[in-house]
Amino acid sequence: MTSISKALVLVGSVALAAASATTFAEEIQGGSTTSATAMSSDLRAVTQSRLDAADGEKTNWLQVNGGYSQKRFFPGSQINSSNVANLKPAFIFQTQILESMETAPLVVDGVMYLTTSYNHVHAIDAKTGKEFWHYKHNQGPITVYCCGPNNRGVAALDGKVFMGTLDAKLVALDAKTGGKIWETQIADPELGYSETMAPVAVDGKVLIGTNGGEYGIRGFVKAFDADSGKLLWTFYTIPDKGHEGVWATHDATGRDMHRDIAAEKAMLKKRGGDFYQTLGGGVWMTPAVDQETDTAFFVVGNPSPDLYGDIRPGDNLYTNSMVAVDLNTGAYKWHYQYIAHDVWDLDAVSPVVLTEAKDKSGKVRKVAIHGGKTGHVYVHDRGTGELIRFSDAMVPQDDMWVLPTAEGTRMLPGANGGVEWNPMAVNEDLGLAYAANLHQPMTYHVEASEYPGGKLWLGGAFKVIPGEAQWGRLSAVNINTGKIAWEADTDQPLMGGVLATGGNLVFTGEGNGSFNAYDATTGAKLWSFQAGAGVNAPPTSYMVDGKQYIAVAAGGNTQLNFKRGNSVIVFELP
C-alpha cells in the first residue's frame, strides 16, 4: 500500500475506536459544542446588577432558585388559581439522555438553559423549544456519585454560564455559543469528590460545594474567579481542629441522641483528631447570598461513614449544620448544628432560603430557613444563627433517635427524610414555606468499616420496609408560628422541589409523572398533567413577549428509581 492509503487506513480504525464508549484509561480533554441555530442578539448578558434584582424579577428566571434569597417565587400572576386548570403544554424539548433530570431551567431574555445527567447543556428558545446549542462534557476517567449522574443546573453571569460536573470540574461556557471558555478541577474525583449541584455566581465569583459524604471526603465550599477559573478561597466544612465540638447530647429540637460520650472521648484520645480529612460534610445544594451583609449561607451534609459513628468521635462539626461565611473571604461567621454525631444520614441538604419571620415576641426579623430531613422547618436569625423556632413535624416521626444495629432498627423518618435536596419555595405575602417531603419507613443497619480510599463508605446499609406504605407530602408551613397550614399527600415520596408564584399557585411534580398545581392558600389541587416520566426536578417560571410559562424537567430519579425520561416540558395558557 502507498503511504497515503496506509495513513488513511490507520485514521479509519482510530475513528472507529474513538466512537466507542469512553473507557477508563483514555486521556480525555475538552468537550464539544454543536450549534443548531445562531442565537439572536436580543440576548443580553446577565450582569451583576440584574442578579442583584433577581429576587424581584418579573420576566426572567436568572438563577436556579430564583434569586440569591432562593425563595423560588415568581411574581407573575398571568397564570393564576382561577385559570391554571387550562394550562397545557406549549412544547417539549427532548434531550439525548434518558436518565434522572434534576435541572431547574434558567431563562434569560427568551433563552432557556437546561442541563441533563452526564453534564450536557442545552440552550434553547424558551418560546418555541428550538435549539441554539448543545454542549457535551467529556468526563474524565473517574466519576463517582452516590445518587445518580444528575445535574441541577447552571449559574449565569456576564455572558457565561457555569456548571459543576461529575468528574469534579467547574466549566464556564459562552452563553451565546456554548463554547468552553475555561475549565478548572475543583477536587480529586479519585477521593470521591464530584458535583451535581448548581453553582451560584456573585460579584465576579462562582461558589460551589461538593458531593461525597458517602465517600469519606473533606467537604468544602469553594469560590472561583468567574473570568479565569482561578481558586479564590476555600471554606472547609470540617475544621482541622475542634470538630469534636461541645459534645451535644440533644439535637436542635431537644431530643436525646443517645450518645455514649465517654466512649467517644476515649476513642478520640486513642485515635486522635486527624480523621477530619475523611469526615465528610459535603455541601449538596446552592448557597444563598445576603449582599447587605456579604454573607453566604449553606447547609452541610452528613459525616462519613454515614452509619458507623464509633470511629469518628465528637460532634463532627460542621456536618448537619447551617453555616454562614463571609462572601469575599470564606471566613467563618456562625453555624448551627441540627444533629451532632449523626449516624442516620439525616443530613441537612435542602438549600437555605432567606426571608423574614416574626420572632417569639412578634418582632419581624431577617431569617434564614431550612427544611430538614428530620421533618422540621428551622427558622434562624440571619445575623447570629439563633434558632428562633422549628416547625411542627411535617411527616411522621417514630423512635427518634434509636441507634442503628447490625440486624437493623426501624426509625422514622427514613434516611431520605423528610425534606431531601428538594428546594422549598416561600410566599412572603402568605408567610408560608412549601416543602416537598418523603415518608419512607426504613431500617438502619450498622457495620464496622475502615476508610476504603475514595470508594463508597456507608458503614452499614439502609433498607425500606416491604409492607409499610411509602408516600409523599407537600407541606405548607407558617414560618411565623411553626404550624402546618395545609398538607397535600401524594402516592409516592416526593423528590424534586417546589415553585411558588404570584398567581396564588404552588407547583411540584411526582415520580409517577404527575406535575401538579395547588392553591397556595388552601392546598387544593387545581391542575395535574401526566408527563410520562417522573417529574423530579424543581419547576421554574418566566415570561417571553408578555406571556407566562411554567417549565419543568421530567426525567425521573435514580435514588427512588422513578421512571426515566429525557425532556423538559413547557406549559402555557391557551
Partner: protein
C-alpha cells in the same frame, strides 16, 4: 505530504486511547478459556465480563493481586499483572458487548426477589436495571450461579472487599431470599 502528516498526527493524538483496549485484547487471550474471547463466558461459575464497568474490573484485579479478594483460580491469574495490564484488561472488557446469553434462574420466586431487591434499595448504588456505575458493578446479564455465590460470600464473610457496603445489606436476608433476589437479577438485561 501535509495531508499525510496531518492524518498521522491525528493518529498519534488518539494512540493512547487506542492502545488500552487493543492491548487489553491481547492480554485477555489467557482469560478467554473461562471468560470467553469477548467477555461472554461459557460456564456459569465464571462471570460475564462483557460490558462490566472498567473501574470495577480494575479494582477486582487489584484486590485479587493484593489478597483483599481471594479465589483459587483468579488469585494466581492476577498475581503478575502490572497496573497497566489491569487498566488495559478493564478497558477491553468494558468495551465488549454482552451477547444476551447468561444463566438465568426462572424457577424461583422472582416477584419475591424483586420485592426484596426494591426493599434493600439495590438500585440506589447499582442504578436502575442494575447497570452499575464506577466501582459498583453491573449485575444485569450476570450468571445466576455467580451472583448467588457473591451474595453468600458477602454474607458469610468469604468475600470482604466491599467495605461493609454489601455485607450490611445481605446480613439480615435469609439464604432462600438471597436466591430469589439473585434469580430476579439474573433475568434483567
Amino acid at each position: 505530504m501535509k495531508l499525510i502528516l496531518a492524518l498521522l498526527s491525528m493518529f498519534l493524538l488518539q494512540s493512547t486511547a487506542q492502545a488500552d483496549a487493543e492491548a487489553g485484547k491481547q492480554k485477555a487471550e489467557v482469560c478467554a478459556a473461562c471468560h470467553g474471547l469477548d467477555g461472554n463466558s461459557i460456564a456459569p461459575n465464571f462471570p460475564n465480563l462483557a460490558g462490566q464497568t472498567a473501574r470495577y474490573i480494575y479494582l477486582q484485579l487489584k484486590d485479587f493481586q493484593k489478597g483483599k479478594r481471594s479465589d483459587p483460580m483468579m488469585s494466581p491469574m492476577a498475581a503478575n499483572l502490572t497496573k497497566q495490564d489491569m487498566f488495559d484488561l478493564a478497558d477491553w472488557y468494558a468495551s465488549q458487548k454482552f451477547n444476551g446469553q447468561n444463566s438465568k434462574k426462572t424457577d424461583a420466586n422472582l416477584s419475591n426477589g424483586k420485592k426484596l431487591a426494591d426493599a434493600a434499595l439495590c438500585t440506589m448504588c447499582h442504578l436502575g436495571g442494575f447497570s452499575g456505575q464506577n466501582e459498583v458493578p453491573r449485575v444485569a446479564g450476570q450468571h445466576y450461579e455467580y451472583i448467588i455465590k457473591q451474595l453468600k460470600d458477602f454474607k458469610y464473610k468469604n468475600r470482604t472487599n466491599d467495605f461493609g457496603n454489601m455485607s450490611a445489606v445481605v446480613k439480615t436476608i435469609e439464604d432462600k431470599d438471597l436466591e430469589d433476589i439473585a434469580a430476579y437479577v439474573s433475568t434483567l438485561h
